[in-house]
């Protein structure tokens, strides 16, 4: 067995283990971390198939951005672990049925299609980078699907903004940057002339003494 297949089995084992731990970990933060580990190991597996662009994009997008936000939310929400476990056995049969259906579907796909030996059909010795090849295909052969996908993503972005931005909310407070920048020393700071107040020192001392006596 050469070093590449040893690495493959090591990564595959880590991937399976972390995937299993995602659904069995008690602490939601730990579950999210195992999901991160699963993403990273699958990126390593892709890297071994010489598809470095996809592997690095997986890390950049899913691990570097999506999972960070996910972890963020999981940490901020104070999840009540006991209430999550409620109804576990009641929902178990339905979950099992669904799980078996999904498993069968996946098996069907794998059995029907022959095993793909080289997914990306890449030549590891080639000096032309993966990104270059992918770009050629995406922007010539598949340019309409790419445009369509980007329009759908843009739509999602606009909708998300529209859902969260409520200008009508009376309680919302906004920073007016122009007003902040436009201030000068005169609007911030006023010199007020006051006549000096002179209090007799001896009487002030007397007051302090009486206060001290009371205590």
């Amino acid at each position: 067995m050469d070093i590449v297949s040893v690495l493959f089995y090591v990564f595959a084992a880590i991937l399976l283990f972390s995937g299993f731990r995602v659904i069995t970990a008690k602490n939601p933060v730990h579950a999210a971390l195992f999901l991160v580990l699963a993403f990273v190991t699958s990126a390593c597996l892709w890297m071994m198939l010489n598809v470095e662009f996809l592997a690095l994009t997986l890390i950049l997008v899913y691990v570097g951005a999506v999972m960070v936000l996910f972890l963020f939310v999981v940490m901020m929400l104070d999840v009540d672990l006991e209430s999550l476990r409620k109804g576990f056995w009641k929902n178990m049969p339905l979950a099992l049925v669904l799980g078996v259906v999904v498993l069968l579907e996946m098996l069907l796909v794998i059995v029907k299609n022959p095993v793909v030996t080289s997914v990306a059909n890449v030549d590891p010795e080639s000096k032309i980078s993966n990104a270059n090849k992918l770009g050629w295909v995406l922007y010539t052969q598949y340019s309409y699907p790419v445009e369509l996908a980007s329009m759908i993503l843009l739509l999602g972005l606009v909708v998300a903004v529209a859902l969260t931005l409520r200008k009508t909310d009376k309680q919302a407070k906004y920073q007016n940057i122009a007003a902040q920048v436009a201030v000068d020393s005169k609007t911030r700071f006023t010199m007020v002339k006051m006549a000096a107040e002179v209090e007799e020192i001896s009487s002030a001392e007397n007051k302090q003494e009486t206060a001290g006596d009371k205590q």
Partner: protein
């Protein structure tokens, strides 16, 4: 390498050869990081009209080692109810990300650890993992201060990563490659070949500024250091750490400063290219010394900003990242694209 292959066989020799190369990359890097901490203390002291660390050894040159020994011999205190595994693991993640980026960075056309096609993408991907170290360190300590610091740092790093990525897209566009050596070499060609004007610095000047400032924000340095704002949240995400794990956080911060400076030098300042014309003899030749000089200038800038600017407010940081840098980079990418296909192109 052939010598090793003769004795150990192909696979083992390959592994050991790369291990040796990794050590040869990391040890000088760690040493320079150690002296960067000393340089920062001395330069800051100079700017504050103080003397600074000058007691240990001549000019305080042994100070970094004194600090290191102090950190190593201190007790590692784990807070009550901390998540122990994550607590110990997060400094390792952050240092791993800071050091493993150096695997693809070339120091001159012949001197590099590996020369990969997607080097730039690798650096962006790996450095985006560094945020896990911070957010987990903030969470694992089970302390409100450290958690707040971690949350602030994460929000800031995610925001500035976008502007940084877009600034790099312009660099990729004009050099047509994700490979660092190609990126540097492409800055020696074009209409103004062989002069400072063919570097990415001047045609991509807005991107250079955005990248430089985002780099300061990414490394959580002053004036963007709200995540460890002493006056508000004690020391931010690493408030619960002591001893060696704390030293790892410091090491990672300074290694990241080095990384951002080196990337800026490679992508915008022409890397190892000389600023002088080729016929100036030794001054006109490309060499690693130019890269070192550029990196040192940028690092001095990092320290200078810390001594000069007051800390940004949190909402100002978010505004700068999302409402100013992101539109600037988006518009400038469009401008560059039009410029490249127009007759006025300087990249052909």
């Amino acid at each position: 390498m052939e010598f090793l292959q003769h004795y150990l066989g192909h696979d083992l020799a390959f592994a050991i050869w790369h291990l040796i190369k990794a050590v040869l990359t990391i040890v000088p890097l760690t040493l320079s990081v150690a002296y960067l901490t000393l340089a920062e203390r001395r330069i800051l002291a100079f700017m504050h009209a103080r003397i600074g660390a000058n007691r240990v050894g001549p000019f305080g040159l042994f100070q970094p080692f004194a600090d290191l020994f102090k950190f190593v011999f201190k007790e590692i205190i784990v807070p009550y109810k901390a998540s122990r595994g994550v607590f110990y693991f997060s400094p390792i993640i952050i240092l791993f990300c800071a050091l493993s980026c150096w695997a693809v960075i070339p120091f001159n056309p012949e001197l590099y650890f590996t020369d990969v096609n997607a080097g730039l993408l690798y650096v962006i991907a790996v450095s985006s993992l560094g945020v896990y170290g911070i957010i987990l360190a903030g969470w694992a300590g089970n302390s409100k201060y450290s958690f707040l610091g971690g949350v602030r740092a994460t929000a800031q790093m995610i925001s500035y990563e976008l502007a940084m990525g877009f600034a790099l897209i312009a660099v990729i566009m004009v050099s047509g490659s994700l490979n660092f050596i190609d990126i540097v070499n492409s800055q020696a060609y074009g209409k103004f070949a062989g002069s400072i004007f063919s570097w990415n610095l001047i045609p991509l000047f807005p991107m250079f500024l955005v990248y430089l400032i985002s780099g300061v924000a990414e490394t959580n340095r002053a004036p963007f250091d709200v995540c460890e704002g002493e006056s508000e949240i004690v020391a931010g995400f690493h408030v619960e750490y002591s001893g060696t794990p704390f030293a790892l956080f410091m090491l990672a911060e300074y290694a990241n400063m080095f990384l951002v400076s080196t990337l800026t030098a490679i992508m915008f300042l022409g890397g190892w290219l000389s600023p002088f014309p080729r016929n100036w003899g030794i001054l006109g030749h490309e060499s690693m010394a130019w890269l070192v000089i550029k990196v040192l200038i940028l690092l001095f800038g990092f320290i200078w900003y810390r001594a000069t600017f007051p800390r940004y407010r949190y909402d100002q940081i978010m505004r700068l990242g999302w409402k100013i840098f992101l539109p600037i980079t988006l518009v400038w990418i469009f401008v560059i694209a039009v410029w490249m296909v127009s007759p006025f192109t300087i990249w052909k």
